[in-house]
């Protein structure tokens, strides 16, 4: 077991463990905070995959943005602690069958498929290559993203704005 394996399992356990706590926690604010560790663990996994840009995006956007938004969303509701969150288990047999089936499909798919892999050295950083691609082959995607963000901005403001009617 190399040092990379150790780090991988460390992050994997962090991700799965805190993910479990997110789902089972009785307090919604605690859930949101556990999500922080889940997202952080995923960022660590990205780093191990040499996807450094995605890891940074994960930290900046998910941990720095979406999680904060989530917390605000929770705090906007009037009675946070009074709300009873149902964490009891119902329909346990169909759920086990359903998730087990899905898990079986995904795991067998993971193991049995010849995933396309191209030999090559890991780049020192992916950001540079990404920049080149975004400015040439995917320039349309880049500009369309700007339009998407503009629409998101207008739409978000439109929904959140208080009407004086």
């Amino acid at each position: 077991m190399s040092i990379y394996d150790v780090i991988f399992y460390l992050f994997a356990i962090l991700t799965i463990g805190s993910g479990y706590l997110v789902v089972t926690s009785k307090n919604i604010v605690h859930s949101a905070f556990y999500l922080l560790f889940t997202l952080f663990g995923v960022a660590g996994l990205y780093v191990l995959l040499a996807a450094d840009f995605i890891a940074i995006v994960q930290l900046m956007v998910y941990v720095g943005g979406i999680l904060i938004l989530l917390l605000f969303g929770v705090m906007l509701t009037n009675k946070v602690t009074d709300v009873k969150i149902r964490t009891g288990t119902i329909h346990i047999i169909p759920a086990v069958i359903g998730t087990g089936l899905l898990m079986g499909v995904i795991v067998s798919m993971m193991l049995r498929t010849n995933w396309k892999s191209e030999p090559g050295e890991l780049p020192f950083t992916t950001t540079y290559g990404l920049g080149r691609i975004l400015l040439t082959d995917y320039v349309l995607v880049f500009e369309l993203l700007a339009m998407l963000l503009l629409i998101a901005l207008i739409g978000a403001a439109s929904i959140a704005r208080r009407d004086n009617e």
Partner: protein, 503 residues
């Protein structure tokens, strides 16, 4: 490299025009803060220009944005072909009709301050649809799908003060994000299998022996979930009735025609460029034997039309009934794709043209009546035939056309569909579709019965539509009746637009 990009820009003028006008609308909304009454006209002007640009493209077959850094320098991210241009034209015409629709709709007139946003978001939808129709790269497909979805989520809940509208928006967002997440999963699996996001490259790679069929089928189904949600095909249709009922009626009409058309265009392009190995002389597509698209499509379409039609039987809200009817129509159109032939494709193209006219027309009449009565309930249509003779007749013709009876264009649309089915020896499926049409007759005629045979219990004043509404309805009615009798022009036009940029 830069030359290629500059060259590609000449092929995306319609998309460019839409983007520029989107920015102009936002800018006008900003600068002329007080006066919003010019905005609909600006967006109309933009659409007319876009329409002309699309018309200019109609014969062109070309790739745009061909990647220069990758190994395969043949296939672009966008495909400009007659098939795409047909659907783009359809989307633009629908959008023009919808802008006129909103000018007459009280719900939208009441928005006043927020009119700028409303049009900006409609433009966001148009941009998403135009890109989606000609996208041949999975990343672009996903991005345009999101652009379309994001704008329509907000538009569905645009009447914030109405509870149903907010509920519609919320349901739409939840269903939408689940299905787009599943689609993204499918995309990532396909990328993992082939190492490419371009549909043409994927087509050539999945013919290889090392492709795992199970994985590919799984990812294809996931892709279909994402598209099936947009076209509201059966197991993914749960959002449709609620959203259609809660959204502003102009947006309902728009979602039921334009965004469905774009979804179908995407589905056809995905199957045709991604999975077809060759097209025979008589126009039948031979798919690569990796995934049985035909079986999936037939099953889904029968399920969709049956569920749609039978659920529509019990609806008392006309908007909701039309929602279920649009689900049923999606089922018919899916059959046209399931034939997997150019014949079927022609039927789909004709069907969409006719569907646009009759569906927008039906919604328009519903809107005019709800402007006056404030309700879409079927009981409020009692005795309408006497109170508003023209509206009654117009709605009757739209509904008869939706059923598919002669002498309306709806009959021609169904006729070509059944011809394509019988040509492909899919007799059983054709019979099921025919039986479904009979079922649909019941709920369409039920509205007619309320309009003409039931006497209203309440005293209501006569509804006289304005001149503009009269002209609008005539613009929709005349083609429906005209093409119902003399249908060669649309058939010829559809036939000339059937070719996709092939392998």
């Amino acid at each position: 490299m830069i030359n290629e990009i500059l060259n590609s820009i000449t092929f995306i003028y319609p998309e460019l025009a839409v983007s520029i006008f989107l920015l102009i609308i936002v800018l006008v909304d900003l600068v002329f803060h007080k006066d919003k009454k010019y905005i609909p006209y600006i967006s109309l002007a933009g659409l007319v220009i876009t329409g002309i640009l699309v018309l200019n493209q109609i014969g062109i077959t070309h790739f745009a944005f061909v990647p220069q850094l990758s190994a395969v320098k043949k296939y672009g991210m966008m495909t400009i072909d007659p098939f795409g241009s047909y659907f783009k034209l359809l989307v633009v015409v629908t959008s023009i009709l919808i802008i006129f629709f909103t000018i007459a709709s009280e719900e939208v007139i009441d928005l006043k301050e927020r009119l700028g946003e409303f049009h900006a978001l409609i433009y966001g939808m148009i941009l998403g649809m135009l890109v989606m129709i000609s996208a041949s790269d999975l990343i672009l497909i996903y991005l345009s799908l999101e652009l379309l979805s994001l704008s329509s989520y907000v538009l569905a809940g645009f009447l914030k003060l109405r509870e149903r509208s907010s509920e519609a928006s919320l349901k739409y967002v939840i269903y939408g994000s689940v299905s787009s997440g599943l689609m993204l999963f499918g995309i990532s699996i396909i990328y993992g299998l082939t190492g490419s996001t371009n549909l043409y490259v994927i087509n050539s790679l999945i013919q290889g022996p090392q492709i795992n069929l199970f994985t590919l089928s799984f990812s294809s189904i996931l892709m279909f979930v994402g598209i099936g949600y947009k076209i509201s095909a059966a197991p993914f249709h749960f959002w449709t009735p609620d959203v259609y009922e809660g959204a502003p009626i102009s947006i309902t009409a728009y979602l039921s025609v334009a965004s469905k058309a774009a979804g179908f265009a995407l589905l056809i392009r995905f199957i045709q460029t991604g999975f077809t190995s060759f097209i025979s002389e008589d126009g039948y597509w031979t798919l690569i034997a990796v995934f049985d698209w035909q079986a999936l499509l037939i099953a889904i379409s029968i399920l969709t039309m049956t569920l749609g039609n039978f659920s529509a039987l019990w609806q008392d809200n006309l908007k909701r009934m039309l929602a279920y009817s649009s689900i049923a129509h999606a089922g018919y159109i899916l059959l046209g794709i399931a034939v997997l032939s150019n014949q079927g494709l022609i039927a789909v193209l004709i069907y969409f043209f006719v569907y646009m006219l009759m569906n927008i027309g039906a919604f328009y009449v519903v809107m005019l009546i709800s402007n006056k009565t404030g309700s879409e309930n079927i009981d409020d249509y009692d005795g309408l035939g006497a109170k508003a003779p023209f509206l009654g007749v117009a709605l009757a013709i739209f509904l008869i056309s939706l059923t598919g009876l002669p002498p309306t264009a709806g009959f021609i649309a169904k006729l070509y569909l059944f011809i394509a089915l019988i040509d492909a020896n899919m007799i059983v499926v054709a019979i099921i579709a025919l039986l479904n049409t009979v079922v649909s007759l019941y709920y369409y005629v039920r509205v007619l019965k309320h309009m003409y045979l039931t006497k209203s219990e309440r005293e209501q004043e006569n509804i006289t539509p304005s001149i503009g509404s009269l002209v609008y309805l005539l613009v929709l009615l005349i083609p429906i009746l005209f093409f119902g009798i003399y249908f060669t022009p649309i058939v010829e036009f559809a036939r000339s637009c059937v070719s996709l940029l092939g392998i």
